[in-house]
């Protein structure tokens, strides 16, 4: 399986009046062909910033201070020219936005917006409309009706599905989905997730899901990266993360999923406040909230180390790095 995207040592900083905020700190990961990867974390963990960094479109005043983003072992995205990048977007990597309701031009029919994408990437308009109709069909949308509609004539769930169809329009290698179901009611959430799962099984496209809700994506991803305070703290196959999490923060996240049936006594929230990115502690960023912290954790940050073939974690305690803290 070839690698679709390879991110190395990515750091994103936001210069502010009070100081520099490190929203993303030395993040590395890769997504293979046909693989579906989830990035989970709470608000401010840097997960959305990673998504926008893949497009080199971090919201102002943020900037990518370090790192590289390579697609299919090609050129570093950050070194591409404006025009190169424009052609690259959407044909190779596309995105389903968090507020999909507002991501369509309000004064143009869907058909015209499909044609504009086709025109921008030198695809014939007829082919693009045919492909869009086909995608709409698989998403239980009436192609003719949707194409001739203005965005405001569609419901929120329909717009989200249109947005997913547009993301798949040019058969990209990677689709980044930023909280694709957050703005939807549970019924629409389920249908959107089912559609995405079908697409994933029937094509070789890779997905990168960005979400705060680990339970939502557990059915549609193969691998999960857990982010905390701008760093990846744990990664591994979704099954392992959900059933046997290693990092205390991941354990907290998993324990916070309410069960579908039964009482909520086993459900716990992660105590404390998210780390202040402006003033990160010297040691582990999760120290203040950690239930298994050791003296060493306050002194030096844990390294992100593999614990077996397909998992890695950044925790002194979990990886046994704390051994010999007070040793010779």
């Amino acid at each position: 399986m070839s690698t679709v995207v390879d991110v190395k040592g990515l750091s994103v900083t936001f210069p502010t009046d009070e100081g520099v905020v490190r929203a993303v700190n030395d993040v590395s990961f890769s997504v293979r062909e046909g693989e579906s990867v989830g990035i989970v974390g709470e608000s401010g963990s840097g997960k959305s910033t990673v998504a926008f960094a893949l497009f080199d479109s971090v919201p102002s005043p943020g900037q990518i201070s370090e790192g590289e983003v390579r697609f299919e072992n090609g050129k570093n995205l950050l070194d591409m020219s404006e025009e190169e990048r424009r052609r690259f977007y959407w044909s190779r990597i596309s995105m389903v936005f968090q507020a999909a309701q507002n991501t369509l031009n309000p004064i143009l029919r869907i058909q015209r917006q499909v044609e504009d994408i086709a025109d921008a990437h030198n695809v014939s308009k007829k082919d693009a409309i045919a492909r869009a109709s086909e995608l709409f069909e698989t998403m239980y949308l009436h192609p003719k009706r949707v194409l001739s509609s203005y965005p405001h004539e569609l419901s929120g769930g329909m717009k989200q599905r249109v947005s997913i169809a547009l993301a798949l329009l040019l058969n990209p290698r990677l689709v980044v989905l930023d909280e694709p179901t957050t703005a939807l009611d549970v019924i629409s959430q389920a249908s959107v997730l089912r559609i995405l799962d079908e697409v994933r099984r029937n094509t070789s496209v890779s997905f990168l899901f960005i979400t705060h809700d680990i339970s939502v994506i557990s059915q549609v991803v193969d691998r999960v990266l857990v982010m905390y305070a701008g760093r990846v703290v744990e990664s591994g196959p979704v099954r392992k993360i959900v059933t046997a999490p290693t990092h205390p923060y991941t354990r907290g996240l998993v324990a916070s999923i309410p069960p579908l049936v039964g009482d909520l006594s086993g459900t716990k929230s992660v105590m404390g406040q998210p780390a202040n990115l402006m003033n990160l502690p010297k040691g582990c960023a999760f120290y203040d909230r950690c239930e298994i912290r050791q003296p060493r954790c306050a002194l030096e940050p844990p390294s992100y180390l593999p614990i077996d073939d397909d998992s890695a974690v950044a925790c002194h305690v979990a990886t046994g790095q704390d051994q010999g803290v007070n040793g010779p």
Binding site: S57, M95, F97, N102, T103, P106, I107, R109, D116, D119
Partner: protein
């Protein structure tokens, strides 16, 4: 269609109501042309009866007649398509005065509005795209100042600079004395030459508000999610600009149509300053001499243009913006 007919009927009623109100309002102004003429005739040695008859025949009204009766006469006239005769220019029908003056104002006002609109839009987009640099500050401040100076001050200032100091443009009239009005090149050139200062005044006083409004909507739309999405879709620069442009200009459209109507009223100060023979000048002179029929005619014209512009804006807006459903 049904809706259109309803709009037209309500507009007609509205115009009639406003015209009625102005009919009574202008009679509340101190001084009256009837009194002036009546006393002039008495001074000439006429008997009171003769003078009253003369006033009635000249003005088609009796000085001491109750206002309500004058009003009914005026309404009857109006439905016969007449606005009465001017008092100051004795016997000349008001409709004729208005039709003589209208083309001059229509051309200058429309040109002034379009030019100020386009310059304002252009500057607004520039200011929005360079909003963190000094260029934006310069454009915004210049626009605010131009907008804040009253039209008659701008008019006098331009007149002083370009006529008195530099002798570049003529001080009055709509065309030179050596040309004949009509479709001929010398006349058109002369007209354009004479309209530079009036049109320039409309442009200077108008563009500020367009610039500031356009800057605001452009910045709002630039930060809209759909613009970010459009960029990441790799759309061509020209497509992005058209997305941005149309979404930013749409909110200004109603204001533009209303200005078209309202500028007839605003033309009073500007045309008076340049002795430009348009509606504004006619209106100004009529107010000074309390020429009721001409004032009523001009008010009727201004009211009608504003209301019609409003209806047209409404009807067109639902065609331009799909979100508005009629």
């Amino acid at each position: 269609m049904n809706k259109l007919i309803r709009r037209v009927v309500t507009s007609l009623i509205l115009i009639f109501v406003v015209a009625t109100l102005t009919f009574f309002l202008i009679r509340l102004m101190p001084g009256s042309p009837y009194e002036v003429l009546y006393h002039q005739l008495l001074m000439k040695g006429m008997s009171q009866q003769q003078a009253a008859d003369q006033v009635r025949s000249l003005l088609n009204a009796t000085p001491n007649e109750p206002v309500i009766l004058q009003y009914f006469q005026w309404v009857v006239q109006l439905f016969h398509g007449s606005l009465g005769n001017s008092i100051a220019q004795t016997g000349v029908p008001v409709t004729q005065l208005i039709f003589n003056a209208l083309p001059w104002t229509l051309v200058t006002v429309t040109m002034g509005l379009f030019i100020s609109f386009f310059i304002g839009i252009f500057l607004g987009v520039i200011s929005a795209s360079k909003r963190n640099s000094w260029v934006s500050g310069l454009i915004d401040n210049a626009s605010s100042i131009a907008h804040a100076i009253p039209a008659y001050v701008t008019a006098v200032a331009l007149l002083y600079l370009f006529n008195v100091v530099w002798h570049v443009f003529p001080s009055s009239g709509a065309y030179g004395i050596t040309v004949y009005p009509g479709v001929n090149l010398p006349f058109i050139l002369s007209f354009m030459y004479h309209m530079v200062l009036p049109v320039g005044t409309y442009v200077l006083t108008g563009l500020g508000s367009w610039e500031l409004a356009m800057k605001a909507t452009t910045i709002t739309v630039t930060n809209d999610d759909f613009m970010m999405a459009a960029r990441l879709r790799g759309l061509r620069h020209s497509t992005l600009m058209s997305y941005l442009g149309w979404n930013s200009i749409l909110p200004l459209f109603t204001g533009f149509m209303l200005s078209l109507g309202a500028m007839f009223g605003g033309s009073v100060f500007i045309e008076s300053t340049y002795s430009f023979p348009g509606i504004g000048n006619l209106f100004g002179a009529a107010i000074t001499s309390r020429d009721y029929p001409v004032m009523e005619g001009c008010f009727l014209l201004t009211t009608t243009t504003i209301i019609v512009a409003n209806v047209v804006a409404d009807l067109m807006y639902s065609k331009l913006d799909p979100r508005i459903v009629d």
